[in-house]
Assembly symmetry: C2
Homo-oligomer: 495 residues x 2
């Protein structure tokens, strides 16, 4: 992988002087076109050997390009807000919106490589993280992002020379620290691990480009040209914009056991008994939220279900048990402009709770495989890939000591009709029935089969669905509270 980056590539001054202005102009024009058509973001990921010119190249790209449409993020120690959220949260918050270039310095690959080099993690864990990253990057490209991954390489000998020469110059001496020399001792191991990492994460959609870092002119022009070529290729596609959908994966034939059909919808609870149980379980939930170790975990709750299934009521029974300062309710409606400029899951990532807190989603990322699928708001390929993207997402949450509790509230078609009619009588405006509700009701079967698929494909051991027969509201609410307490208790145990 690195052989061709040890050949001693170089470009002479004259050549450079002739080519640099043209490259620069072309980059600026590409950037202008990108900002104009706003159809995709460009994510430049920078990695490589210390002293190979990563920082200089990033600075140069910033100098060449229009600083208004480019943003560079480096990832040092995470802030406390970042530490209390899943590992990838800080990268999600740094993603550039459509129309912009984001340069991510170090990005998500530094940590696994460095930790494997220092033997903090075993190869199995590296493997797991690589899989996670491959899937994450595929999601980015599937979402239309242009991912340009640049790796700056130096041979061992060259790295030594480079560090020495940086040390000699008083202007650059500050850049070489003890840590650099410590790392240099691990060169061979670093090379081995990163070669493996690069091989495993070079995919057709987002290959790594390895650039020899020795000669500044060669390095600069190559980096600039790689970026330009990638941008130009995407910009000049007709029609510009979205990468062509890949062929939808074939849904493996799943034995339809009719999960929702086998769910008992009519289990009832008398009012008196309900009130006793409600107090009991709300008390339990409240105590759990004040458990000393609860500060080390967090809870994300998802409510899905047909219209008028009682999601709002169940949510209120949860929030009623909690101090208003520890939870946030997020109703999911149409995405905002800033959310539309990002990958699909971005708007859910942004609301993830810190440790010690709850986020309650009233409808959620499952919209993609429910309403968006049924109404045709996204392509088949988009919702087909969403199942595994969602599973990946929830796995990451669970890894961060987050309980992911998902509730599907199911009412019968008759019960829905009864509730719609009752709502038309009520003076609670928030229960207003709209034409859309009636339209959705007509698609009852399509929604139901989408829900069946969703439950089959996204009920995982770390984030199982709880199916709730909800014809009786009392029964449904107690079921939800019980299951939620159970999940939190398990979460506390496994800390």
């Amino acid at each position: 992988m690195f052989e061709s980056a040890e050949l001693g590539h170089s470009i002479d001054k004259k050549q450079y002087a002739a080519q640099e202005p043209k490259l620069r102009e072309a980059l600026l024009n590409a950037q202008f076109d990108l900002a104009e058509n706003k159809s995709f973001p460009v994510i430049v990921v920078i990695g490589g050997v210390d002293g190979a010119g990563k920082g200089e190249t990033v600075n140069l790209l910033n100098e060449w390009m229009d600083p208004r449409h480019i943003r560079t993020c480096a990832f040092g120690d995470p802030s406390d807000e970042e530490r209390e959220r899943p590992r990838m949260w800080r990268f999600w918050r740094a993603l550039p919106p459509k129309g912009q270039v984001g340069i991510l310095f170090g990005a998500w690959h530094t940590d696994p490589i460095v930790r494997r080099v220092s033997k903090e993690i075993k190869s199995a864990e590296l493997e797991r993280q690589i899989d996670e990253i491959v899937r994450f990057e595929r999601m980015l490209t599937d979402e239309g992002a242009l991912l340009v991954k640049l790796w700056f390489h130096l041979s061992k000998d060259r790295q030594k020379k480079r560090l020495r020469s940086l040390e000699k110059d008083p202007d650059t001496r500050w850049r070489v620290t003890k840590l650099d020399w410590q790392r240099f001792k691990l060169y061979d191991r670093f090379r081995e691990v990163s070669e493996y990492y690069l091989r495993r994460t070079s995919t057709a959609e987002s290959p790594w480009t390895v650039i020899e870092g020795t000669d500044e002119r060669y390095r600069s022009l190559t980096a600039g040209r790689t970026l330009l070529a990638a941008m130009r290729e995407r910009l000049d596609q007709k029609p510009a914009g979205r990468v062509p959908d890949r062929t939808p994966p074939i849904l493996p034939a799943i034995d339809k056991r009719d999960l929702l059909g086998s769910l008992k919808l009519d289990r009832k609870l008398e009012k008196e008994k309900y009130e006793k149980l409600l107090e009991e379980w709300q008390g339990r939930l409240n105590r759990l939220s004040r458990h000393p170790r609860f500060k080390e975990m967090s809870v994300t709750i998802v409510f899905e279900g047909s219209d008028a299934a009682g999601k709002g009521g169940a949510i209120r029974r949860i929030t009623g048990a909690l101090d208003a300062r520890v939870y946030e309710g997020i109703p999911i409606a149409a995405p905002t402009e800033e959310e539309r400029a990002q990958p699909y899951l971005w708007r859910f990532w942004r609301h993830l709770p810190r440790h010690g807190r709850f986020t309650i989603y009233d409808r959620s990322w499952y919209g993609r495989v429910l309403v968006e699928r049924v109404e045709g708001f996204c392509s088949e390929a988009d919702w087909m890939r969403a199942y595994s993207e969602i599973n990946d997402f929830e796995e990451q949450l669970a890894k961060d000591n987050m309980v992911v509790a998902k509730f599907w509230l199911q009412v019968s078609k008759d019960e829905q009709l009864r509730r719609f009619k009752a709502r038309q009588e009520t003076s609670f405006k928030r229960f207003k029935i709209t034409d859309e509700d009636w339209r959705n009701r007509k698609k009852w079967n399509a929604y139901r089969s989408a829900a069946e698929d969703m439950i089959e494909r996204t009920s995982t051991s770390v984030a199982p669905w709880t199916l709730v027969g909800a014809n009786d509201k009392y029964h449904a609410r107690i079921t939800v509270l019980k299951a939620l307490c159970g999940r939190i208790e398990k979460g506390l145990e496994s800390l």
Copy 2:
């Protein structure tokens, strides 16, 4: 101020049972109307004596209202991301968007009161902070926010009883800490300081409502009704929405010394000399950015000036001197949907740099008193009040060890024409001249007099304008770099 909240108000069970459901329904309906028309945010600020039922009331409001459109924020210890930004940053990021209710627990008043009670700050500093808060709250209401400020009061005797009874009940014992008893010893002083604070911050637009906290039913109904009445009053205004503009303040007659007219536009620098100076000043800026104590401060740079005045070029000479990882360039164009749902300055607050970093605004919050004024995008009252809002804003930045460097780049009308024509020839697309540029040019005089007013009114000791004669780009760029270095050096000295 507190006398009427020590009368022993109470409501009996029966009355409460009769009134609570009605209040609840009315609150839900108000919330629904608010979410529908999305014309203003509701900011509920909660303060008061410990044990007076603040938390319980907030929880109850959350229980009563639709959790999807209400959000509660408490402000404990600031996170590190918050600590490295001006004091008010954390409150800005917690502001609810239009259409939503945000409950701010403690909010901006806790800190000044508590610190004055404990004598950490003197009365002069309390005075200063009160002034700041009054202006901040006026800005919020001027921006259309509905501000509802609730203060929960208990007499000394009642507070003692309340803390004791909380301690007795095993379910609430956790809520009374040593700190509460320590604070109780300071009751008289707390009462005195907060009474003064309340008096000074009770304005016509956002008065405090003091609620006696002893009786839970009285307290709950009173808080709910106060909120409901305030929401209903605003929602039922015809036309709904924006508070009526207050009468525009009369601009005091300012001696027009024609600042821009007296600026020398034609000072020149030869290319050779420029290149030498550029290297020198860029080197100096670079070293300043790596100064060990630079980590304790931050820099915000603002560029304003007529079209084609060379803002972009000057910005690139600054960024060219810096490591791409320490700055962010923010081009200001039309606000996004999320930004439009917030007070005017929100979109500038959100990009403020952490310590050790630069943010460079290409156009800025001054748009309000330039383009928005000239083009009539906002009312006269809006841009008139913007001067002092901006001065307040920049003062807050400066207080947080932030250098605020503002550059006005001025070219002559002839030079602008020359550049427009040159740009029409160039192949750099980002220099494309649009019809809008030509339209703006026709309003040269209006823009110029807006700029004069702006400079007069917003050149303060903490954030002075640097006026740059920019007919010669080389001269302009060096002037900018020099001034910037000077400001940072001063900033470092005064740390």
